[in-house]
């Protein structure tokens, strides 16, 4: 038996926000439950009220956004991402690949069927699988509160372990992904001890778009599990932009990524190993991204 004192199942996001306000900061939003119910069973979370999103229609939508971007409802599951791949509603496949590859790395099929993108971002684990690819895609989240809606760039939303910019009476409604730069191709790599059921030691999302002359027109590098919150590595990106993505340029970018990482030592890996892994995985991810941007097989 899980200690649930109150449970509400509102029919709209606005009603959900009102329920959160009425609970005065002691409520939690329930989406797939793969994080929150685990915490509650372990006694590590004991919200006075659960506000379920399961009665709100449309939160599992994957829609075309403004100017060819993508709108992902907060209750889109990992399995839905995998089923929408490679190119949901016309969003370019080489850019979407980052998110699809991250979805494939989440837990097991049971977790992917229940767990949601919105829940993953709001739980805000440093290793959150959704964060690096969505950061690399310049995503923003849409929050609904009792007083209205606002958009928050993902980089400003993720504040630290289990901490986000959401107010206690706001609900994450959707994730907005703008249209990527033409030709942007990326990949997601995860460092882990096993091939499944793993939490990342390090995760990297990397993408490049190439100009007609072969130089890097745009570069994106985002890291997870090596800082309190996942983040973009601007220095790695500027090290590539305007240059030919040769071995030296890629190595320089990977070195910037390793330098920007602030890893900790825990049960999954030492800080030293994580830093090494950031350099190796960033290099591999960029090499694969370049290959894909050139139209290579992988």
């Amino acid at each position: 038996m899980i200690p649930v004192r109150h449970y509400v199942r509102p029919a709209s996001l606005e009603a959900a926000a009102r329920a959160l306000r009425e609970a005065g900061g002691r409520a939690r939003v329930l989406a797939g439950g793969t994080d929150l119910i685990v915490l509650m069973r372990a006694g590590r979370a004991s919200p006075g009220c659960l506000v379920s999103l399961s009665g709100i229609p449309g939160l599992d939508r994957i829609e075309r956004g403004e100017e060819g971007g993508l709108v992902l409802g907060t209750r889109v599951t990992w399995s839905a991402i995998l089923e929408a791949a490679p190119a949901p509603v016309g969003f370019p496949a080489p850019a979407f690949a980052m998110l699809a590859e991250a979805a494939a790395e989440v837990g097991a099929v049971q977790t992917r069927n229940a767990g949601t993108l919105g829940g993953n971002l709001c739980h805000a684990a440093p290793s959150a699988e959704a964060a690096p690819p969505l950061l690399a895609l310049d995503a923003a989240v849409e929050a609904v509160g009792p007083d209205g809606r606002r958009r928050i760039p993902l980089g400003a939303f993720l504040l630290g372990p289990n901490r986000t910019a959401l107010a206690p009476d706001e609900v994450l409604a959707a994730i907005h992904v703008p249209p990527p730069p033409p030709g942007l191709a990326g990949t997601y790599l995860k460092g882990a001890l096993r091939g499944a059921m793993e939490i990342a030691q390090v995760s990297v999302a990397a993408a490049v778009a190439l100009a007609p002359d072969g130089r890097v027109a745009a570069a994106r590098v985002a890291l997870g599990a090596v800082a309190p919150a996942p983040f973009r590595v601007a220095a790695a990106e500027t090290a590539l932009e305007g240059r030919h993505p040769d071995a030296a340029a890629v190595a320089a970018a990977a070195a910037h990524a390793a330098g920007a990482a602030r890893p900790i030592t825990d049960i999954r890996a030492s800080a030293e190993y994580r830093r090494h892994l950031v350099e190796v995985l960033t290099r591999r991810a960029l090499e694969r991204a370049v290959e894909r941007a050139r139209g290579g097989a992988r």
């Binding site: 899980i2 837990g107 229940a114």
Partner: protein, 156 residues
Amino acid sequence: MTTQAITFTVNGEVRRAEAPLGVTLLDLLRGHLGLTGAKEGCGEGDCGACSVLLDGRPVNSCLVLGVEAAGRVVSTVEGLAARDGRLSALQRRMIEAGGIQCGFCTPGILVAAAALLASTPHPTEAQVRRAIAGNLCRCTGYQAIVAAVLAASQEA
């Protein structure tokens, strides 16, 4: 204790239950409906022993609130065999291959594998292993289980 009346479909039948707010779908099935096939192993979504199909997809029922199952379609291992008790090809092959030892993981493995075969009738070995990656078995070493799922897929 606060309860909520819910109606949902379980193994093809419409069922009603008075669900205490904090009861999990697993405990609702086991304790209220007498469907004790799904087991509680870890209680935190790691072992898969509690796997059931929710709207056709495997989930860990220990992490689903019973009240969240309202209006949805649940299938458990009890629903795999025909109404006259005849086992499915998957169940038969599990027995023949020796994919069962202590049996605790078996109901979860069966529903996860059944969901795989429903969406992918002829999976590769890698697809089978990936589909049951969230179902821990501490007895068999998985070889016989994977062989059973592949053998069942040959009958499709």
